[in-house]
Symmetry: C2
Subunit: 244 residues, 2 copies
Amino acid sequence: MKRVELIGVEGLPEIRAGDDLGRLIAGHASLQSGDVIVVAQKVVSKSEGRLVKLASVTAGDEAVRLASGLIANPDPRMVQVVLDESVRVLRSERVLITETRHGYVCANSGVDHSNVGSDTLALLPVDPDASAGRLRSRLAELTGAQVGVIVSDTFGRPWRLGIVNVALGVAGLSGLVDLRGTLDDVGEPLHATVLAVADDIASSAGLVMGKTERTPAVIVRGLELGGTGSGRDLIRPAAEDLFR
Amino acid sequence: MKRVELIGVEGLPEIRAGDDLGRLIAGHASLQSGDVIVVAQKVVSKSEGRLVKLASVTAGDEAVRLASGLIANPDPRMVQVVLDESVRVLRSERVLITETRHGYVCANSGVDHSNVGSDTLALLPVDPDASAGRLRSRLAELTGAQVGVIVSDTFGRPWRLGIVNVALGVAGLSGLVDLRGTLDDVGEPLHATVLAVADDIASSAGLVMGKTERTPAVIVRGLELGGTGSGRDLIRPAAEDLFR
């Protein structure tokens, strides 16, 4: 009987720029080779110093104009930071949906100020795959365990309400599992069946993480995955995207 | 330390119309009150007889026309069934994205023929919330356990590659958890934070289910959820949807 465990990593201190996140996680968890460690984007961003003080930002005309049309009535300086982090604005009625420099399509370029204070904005890591890779190496160095790492964030979706955890950065496992051509239970080949397994893993960790940082990381144990991949594998190319 | 277990339910026979799915699951699992049981849509549809033989379908002009533009080169009779199950076609280049009568937006109205044979199509349950509710009642009757039930299916998403499990029908738990107004770690109120917990649960079960039916159900244990809700709660109203 297949069994997977989700184990919250708790007791970490408030994370600051320059903190050794790998050492903090390794000190509060008992890792095993084959585990996948899902780490909340916010603590990764904090450890990498990806914070901006609102007071240091000047909003341009476009940011001021866009801010006035949004239902959350955001500070135009926040909108300026969102625009700075984006390469394209998809929607600006009600909410601001952008494509980030990495290629993620999400609200506000992933910029927010939950858990950092209202005078500060947290940005996504510059390269979440690199963040995941560094954390994976550091955990191997400290514990000897060969683990997979996913840097996750919560995104909204078209068509469905509520936010779910998704995988931004991936290291040490395949983000997608392609089952096309394998046989179903009646012996016919499966089609259109590429599983976004890194997103399913991120979502599962979301059940344990919640939205505060008391549980900034979750160990997912028992998956028996392997392979290598990146978070970029999960981004649908714009040319194939019917909704961009 | 918060810990959640995902336990595959295995060993069920091939499901046929009229089968008592509750009895089959109860006979292959040890349920506890507070568990959430995620059941794959396909076995629910089979037990409810939601299968159509392609030979019984006649494709209309619109189905023939649409079929010719789709990359999977589907049988026009399948496209006819997809249209019959839909209230709106959102996209028909490359793939067919429809809104179903229930309000789900997905590929092919959720109609497919994996695990049922190439001459047969499986449709979504008529009312997945009712399916979940009946299964929940039946499991309580047979085992005494008060469980939550989610009927799940795999959907694609705009912007991201691969399919993930989502919750179609929900019984015995809240589909959404609204954290707006609760305080974050720095004592400020969280905003825009409604968690699609039923989708996160469905995704977590997807890690154990895979895409065959050898594991048609998964027990999710340790969530400490409660409340009541429905799968409809997770459908974004068309009027608030920027991508419909």
